[in-house]
Amino acid sequence: MRDLAASTVTETVAEMCKEANIYLGDDVSGALRRSLEEEESPTGQEVLKQLIANLEIAAEEQIPICQDTGFAVFFVEVGQEVHLTGGGLTEAINAGVKKGYTEGYLRKSIVDDPLYDRKNTGDNTPAVIYTDIVPGDKLKISFAPKGGGSENMSAVKMLKPADGEEGLIDFVVNHVKLAGPNPCPPIVVGVGIGGTFDRVAVLAKKALFRPVGQPHSDIKFADLEKRILKKINDLGVGPQGFGGRIFALAVHIETFPSHIASLAAAVNINCHASRHVERII
C-alpha cells in the first residue's frame, strides 16, 4: 500500500480548479483557432476572434474565461494500492473545491436545496464525483467545471434497438438543433451510447473530458463522430447561433455494452470553453 495524505488531494484539487477556469487547454484553443479558417460567415469569424481574444485576456489578467465557473465535476481513478491518510476522498476533494473557488475568485454557483430555498452554499461545494477502482498505487483526478447553460441543454433517450444508427443520429442532431444558440456555440457534443438510463448519462459527461478532436479508439465510432459533426455543422447555426459553418468543434462518443432490449442514448453539451484538467498523484 502507498500512503497518500488527504491534504495533498485537497491542494491538488484547489490548483486544478484555479487553472481550469483561467487557462483553456491547447486542445480547445487550437480547435477554436483552426475553426476560424473554416468559418465563412463574417459575423461568425468575429465571434471566434472575440473568443480567442477572450482566452488571451483571461490568461494575462487572471480573469476566469467565463463567469460561469461551473459545477465541479470529477472523475477519479483510485489505484487500489492507495491508502488515503488524514481524511476521506470525498471530503478532501470538496475541501479542494472550496479552497480553489475561494482563493481563485471563482463564482460560487451551487444552491443547497434544488427546489425550495435554493440557498447558495457559498463555496461551490458539493462537487459531483465519480470514482473507479483501478489497479496501481496512483490517484488520477480529472476535473471539469461544467457550465449550467450548456448542461441544461442535455438529454437522455431510451431508443429501441431497431432505431439503430439512423435513430441515434436523428436523436443527437435534432437535440443539438433544438439547443441552438443556448449552449454558447461552438459547442463540444458528448454522446453516450449503451448501458442503463443512469450509465449512459455518465458516458456522455465522460466524453466531454476527452481532449477535443481526439477520435474514438474504435474506427466505427470515430467515423460516426465525424458524420454526426458534419450534420450538426450543416445546420448553419454557427458561432453563437448568429449563422455560420462552425456550430460544433467536435463530437465525442463513449460506449458501454447494452441490454438486449435497450439502446440507451444521451447527449451532454459543453460550450466552447470546454474546460478540463487532469493530474496524477
Binding site: 459575423t43 463567469q67 463564482r107 459553418r245
Partner: protein, 198 residues
Amino acid sequence: MQLTGRLTGERGRLKLEAKRIEAPLHDDDILSLKAGDNVLISGVIYTARDAAHKKFIELIDKKAELPLDLKGQIIYYVGPTPARPGQVIGSAGPTTSGRMDAYTPRMLENGMKACIGKGLRSSEVKEALQEHKGIYLAAVGGAGALLSKKIKKCEVVAYPELGPEAVHRLEVEDFPATVINDAYGNDLYAEGAKAYAR
C-alpha cells in the same frame, strides 16, 4: 438581411463596425436598430438574473417601488465572478436568456427597453418586444473576460444577499452586443441559420 459589422482584431481593443448607443434608451434608438446590427453600448445598465427578476415582478404585482426606475433601461443577464483586488468586476459574460422569458413581457410593460443575454427567446417575448418597442441583444457567451474590460464601474444596488445574482449598476463603455430580435419581428437566430444551412 444585412449582417453588418467587421472586426479588425487588435486584441482587447476590438474595432467593430457598429452603431453606438447610449443607455438608457429612447424609442428612436430602438426603432433605428435591426436584427443583425452590431452595437456598442455606453452609459449605465443594470444586471438582473432569475432571482432578481422574480423579486421585481413581485414588487410590480404589489405596485411597490422597484430598486431602480425601469424606464428606458437595458437589463444585462449576468452573474459575474468576484473581482480580484484592483479589478472593477470579474468575468462578466451573458447567461441564458430563456430563463427570464416568464418575466420579460412584464418588464417591457413597465418600461424596460432592452435586455442583453444569449440564446433563444419565447414567442411571447418576441411579441412583447414589438408591442412595447424593445430589443433583445446578445453578447458573446463565454467571452466574460473580454466583456469585463468594457465595464468601467460596478456597484451592488439591490439584493446583496443574492451574491452573484444581486442587482448591479454598471457603467459601460463600448460594450459590444448584437441585435437578435428587433421591434419589427426580425430574428437573427432564425435568419442566420437559414443563410448558412446546407
